[in-house]
């Protein structure tokens, strides 16, 4: 197994993690996708189309901002945020969606399916399908639909169909399962637009490739606009796509510390958190080998996070490898600290982060206080908080808002 620079080997393994543990029915499609991707990633025309889509549709580059007020408030290291919340559709998910849509075009596919947790990946997928001309079906756990109704509405307005998943825990993992079943059935004309750095090879690598622009921008914006280099880059880790995007450009430079933050939920018992690196063991599920929250028999456990996007039992295989090699440090943030972080960024900087991203922020706030003012932290704000309106209103106990939702339907 030859490995260079955190690249996967020919069988799709990062160290011992990853691989292609998929039913035979999917292997031809995965091979076709791999071949297409390997060719596209060094094809001038493809890269031109991609950069145009990044610029004109996604709105790249997204800003990198020094949080002067927050930094002063905490009184430690300088905190910068990379604001992926200003990318079209409100999160980093759009980066791998445009990339995969361009690949699907090359493959001649007519239909795109996707799973979604928070709904961000669903909205981004629906948007690229409208833009690039694909029929689109988005699978979403019934519980996530309840938590993220606004995104369901937007997915539908963008012309896609949302299919509720009513089995298992009715969340992200079950939506992945349902999407895999659809793909197995319609594999000839359908592309599965997997929404994170997870799944069988080549998906983790494809999404890393389309997300790496985030870290490249962080590097050049920090240098060109501020003459700085980051000491820390911090990102939340669900499946791991926004974190891979933020980290990738810095992997080779060991002087930059990288921190991934998992959903700490509200406790350490099974079903109270989504800390794969604390409570998980190595397993093979959903087509790849990585850390999974599971019982002693290998049955996948229930998870919890206040943010649907981090509420997932597995984690991308490259993250597992980065964890083992020590290149990235993984920590977690509790729901209550995450909610406090949302409030603080809103009040100090005028920016409402997504609940997922607020995990990274919570860690940054804690870390900044312990560091001298000379240090520089970059937090990847993977998305904006608009989608979390209803959850936030409920979590903050906003009586007037709750009254509003109750009365809304009574008025014209």
């Amino acid at each position: 197994m030859k490995k260079t620079n955190y690249n996967p080997n020919a069988a799709g393994y990062y160290g011992p993690y990853g691989g292609q543990y998929a039913p035979e029915l999917l292997i031809p499609a995965l091979e076709e996708l791999t071949a297409c991707f390997l060719k596209a990633k060094s094809d001038k025309k493809f890269l031109k189309d991609l950069s145009l889509a990044y610029r004109d549709f996604v709105g790249r580059p997204t800003p990198l901002m020094l949080c002067e007020n927050l930094t002063k408030h905490i009184g430690g290291a300088k905190i910068f945020i990379k604001n992926e919340g200003l990318a079209h559709t409100g999160a980093h998910k759009i980066n791998h969606c445009v990339g995969q849509a361009l690949l699907a075009k090359r493959l001649g596919k007519k239909r795109i399916i996707a799973e979604t947790g928070a709904g961000q990946h669903g909205v981004a997928t629906a948007a690229v399908c409208a833009r690039f001309g694909f029929e689109c079906v988005v699978y979403m756990g019934a519980i996530d639909i309840e938590r993220q109704r606004p995104n369901v509405f937007w997915i539908e307005q963008l012309g896609a169909t949302v299919k509720a998943v009513n089995f298992g825990g009715k969340r992200l993992k079950d939506a992945v399962n349902a999407a895999i079943k659809d793909w197995v059935t319609n594999v000839r004309d359908t592309h599965y637009l997997l929404g994170s750095c997870v799944g069988p090879y080549p998906f983790p690598e494809i999404n890393r490739f389309f997300q790496k622009v985030v870290g490249e921008e962080i590097k050049s914006q920090l240098k060109n606009n501020y003459g700085l280099k980051p000491d820390y880059v911090i990102a939340c880790v669900g499946g791991g796509s926004n974190a891979m995007g933020a980290f990738n450009a810095f992997l080779a430079d060991k002087s930059v510390k990288l921190i991934g933050v998992e959903g700490g939920g509200f406790g350490n018992k099974t079903g109270e958190h989504a800390m794969r690196f604390k409570g998980g063991k190595v397993g093979v599920v959903e087509g790849y080998k990585s850390y999974w929250l599971q019982d002693s028999d290998g049955q996948i456990s229930d998870t919890h996070s206040v943010s649907a996007g981090l509420d997932y039992a597995g984690v991308g295989p490259l993250h597992a490898y980065l964890k083992d090699t020590g290149r990235v440090e993984y920590d977690s943030a509790r729901d209550k600290d995450v909610l406090a972080a949302v409030k603080l960024l809103a009040k100090t900087e005028g920016i409402v982060p997504a609940l997922e991203s607020a995990h990274a922020l919570a860690k940054a706030i804690q870390l900044a206080a312990q560091l001298p003012k000379t240090k520089t932290i970059v937090v990847n704000i993977s998305g904006r908080g608009d989608k979390d309106l209803f959850i936030l209103a409920k979590q903050f106990g906003d009586k007037e808002f709750i009254k509003f939702t109750a009365n809304f339907s009574k008025h014209e």
Partner: protein
């Protein structure tokens, strides 16, 4: 030779026209005791092979019927070890070859790993393994050679979209058993009609694969089995076996008996 190989030799010697039958049970569904009784009854009523599925929380190749049965069995608290104990009892009782069907994580997380999973399966009297999410190219887990070393028949899977070059790679893996041909793209689940072109797809597989072939996914009725005559050595009836139990309203063994009898006619 294991029991699967013996049965395959016997089937060949009989020069039977209609395909042999492999049935399916989710261990622990509706309960462990009942699932054991169903295995025994399927074998007694004429199934030549029986698949014992060890339930898994994320059965990605299974459709709604089997998925729900997996979930129900797990909700009742069935453990992997319960399945091994039940299998051992059954293997001592019936002469029909039994196969464990499950997903790779169950074998991977088994105490002692994949090797111990294979060893203990063989020791429990199992003759074969069906694991849909391990690749035929696997070189990391050693699954194929471990299973073969313990005198088990690991069953490789082929599909209508498997190119001929891959079929050639699949063929040698089936040297102790058969190739499981998935009838169409999709997941498990009983269907009313067989996919068009199934016969010619199977005929093509048989041109490349020397070992016997089996076909499964969607097969649920006696007419399906009749239609497969001459195209396959084994017909696999999975979800339909569970549908029969779900519909039987209590008298499940009688329902199993008459269903299997109708399929074997």
């Amino acid at each position: 030779m294991n029991k699967i190989q013996n049965t395959l030799v016997q089937l060949k010697a009989e020069a039977r026209k209609s395909p042999a039958l492999m049935t399916h049970v989710v261990m622990g569904y509706p309960s462990l005791k009942e699932s054991m009784a169903i295995v025994a009854e399927q074998a007694r009523a004429g199934a030549q092979f029986v698949e014992l599925q060890i339930p898994f929380s994320d059965p990605m190749a299974d459709g709604p019927t089997i998925m729900k049965a997996n979930q129900a069995a797990l909700d009742k608290g069935i453990k992997v070890l319960d399945c091994f104990k039940a299998a051992e009892k059954l293997a001592g009782k019936v002469s029909t070859p039994l196969l464990f069907m499950t997903y790779f994580n169950i074998a991977y997380r088994y105490k002692g790993g994949v090797k111990a999973f294979c060893r203990d399966s063989a020791n429990a009297g199992m003759s074969g393994l069906i694991i849909p999410d391990i690749s035929i190219e696997d070189e990391v887990e050693n699954y194929w050679s471990l299973a073969l070393n313990y005198n088990l028949s690991p069953i490789p899977i082929a599909s209508p979209i498997t190119p001929k070059a891959r079929l050639k790679k699949i063929a040698p893996l089936a040297k102790k058993g058969f190739v499981y041909c998935v009838s169409s793209t999709g997941t498990t689940g009983a269907k009313n009609t067989l996919p068009t072109g199934l016969g010619s797809y199977l005929d093509k597989v048989r041109q490349t694969v020397k070992s016997p072939v089996a076909v499964g996914f969607g097969i649920s009725q006696p007419v399906h089995i009749k239609a497969l005559t001459g195209h396959t050595d084994i017909a696999i009836v999975g979800s339909a076996c569970i549908d029969i139990i779900n519909k039987s309203k209590g008298n499940y063994l009688k329902a199993v008996t008459s269903f299997i009898a109708s399929l074997c006619k």
